[in-house]
Subunit: 180 residues, 2 copies
């Protein structure tokens, strides 16, 4: 991921947040996280996010998923005696297709990224439109993709420790890339 890509994705993130009527401070705009998960194919896999607050008790983020962009399958394991991260996804704008463990949909709406098809294994489909939300229990495999217009999703959760996330694709490197 090069500097031009980061700047381009930050700009598109701002435009989508504007469309959703969500305001950020200048400081927040400067630290919009563009995460390509180390896969180098941001148009298909990755997402953009702003962490509003992350304490040892709770966390809140705004996720911005570009049209047809996919956040790769992963789970949040327990860390010592602390249960894994539990998170509530609330769709604010656009549409997001969320896949979790459970009875698979007969035909899913998402297009599974071609390059990493084998690393998507759960297909219980939840469709979230603005105002709809879903809570993912700790340590549950999940992945999600935005619909054709993209999506803005508020994430409310227990403490976030991204570095402990376990991705199905062993090629994923979950490191925030925010430098330009």
């Amino acid at each position: 991921m090069n500097a031009t890509q980061v700047l381009d994705h930050r700009q598109r993130t701002r435009e989508m947040l504007n469309a959703a009527g969500i305001a950020l401070t200048e400081d927040e705009i400067a630290r919009i996280e563009v995460a390509d998960m180390g896969l180098g194919r941001l148009a298909h896999e990755g997402l953009q996010l702003i962490t509003y607050i992350n304490t040892d008790r709770y966390c809140a983020k705004e996720l911005v998923i570009l049209p047809e962009q996919t956040c790769p399958e992963h789970r949040h394991p327990s860390i010592g005696s602390e249960p894994g991260k539990q998170e509530t996804f609330r769709c604010r704008w656009g549409e997001v297709w969320l896949y979790v463990e459970g009875p698979p949909a007969e035909k899913i709406r998402a297009k599974i990224p071609r390059e990493s098809k084998v690393h998507y294994t759960v297909f219980h489909e939840i469709v979230l439109s603005p105002g709809e939300q879903y809570t993912i229990p700790p340590n549950t495999l999940h992945w999600f993709q935005a619909g054709p217009e993209g999506a803005v999703v508020s994430e409310f959760s227990s403490c976030s420790r991204d570095e402990y996330d376990i991705f199905t694709d062993p090629g994923v490197r979950r490191q925030p890339v925010i430098s330009e």
Copy 2:
């Protein structure tokens, strides 16, 4: 508080959320909480809220404060070995004036409700416009008032247990009133 007041305040809450571009489901609309704090003067003291999620680990709510409406001063004490609720207020729309413990402002923006003036004791002023946020530590006295257009505020926090809140005004009864 009578049924007409509840319906009227729910309607105004919906209008303000619409203006802020915040979508609710029909089920959420039906359970918008109109809280008059048992004081019987909702135009001056009280607020409207929707709880999106409240688990033993985290909580997220949308607070809607009508123009010049005030949430009375209170704090969230520890409960057993658990520290009191910590909360982050993020202004989404309008303007909110938040008062917490600390050096008092020389002249505060808020109009202290006349009927209960003596029950407002902290005057360190924080002004929040859309995109701005502030985190209130556990067990810290705070109160807030919306500016002339009202305010919509996202509240991210640890677990919410309203029934343990300690209000400065001994007349406050913090019971959700959602019946019609």
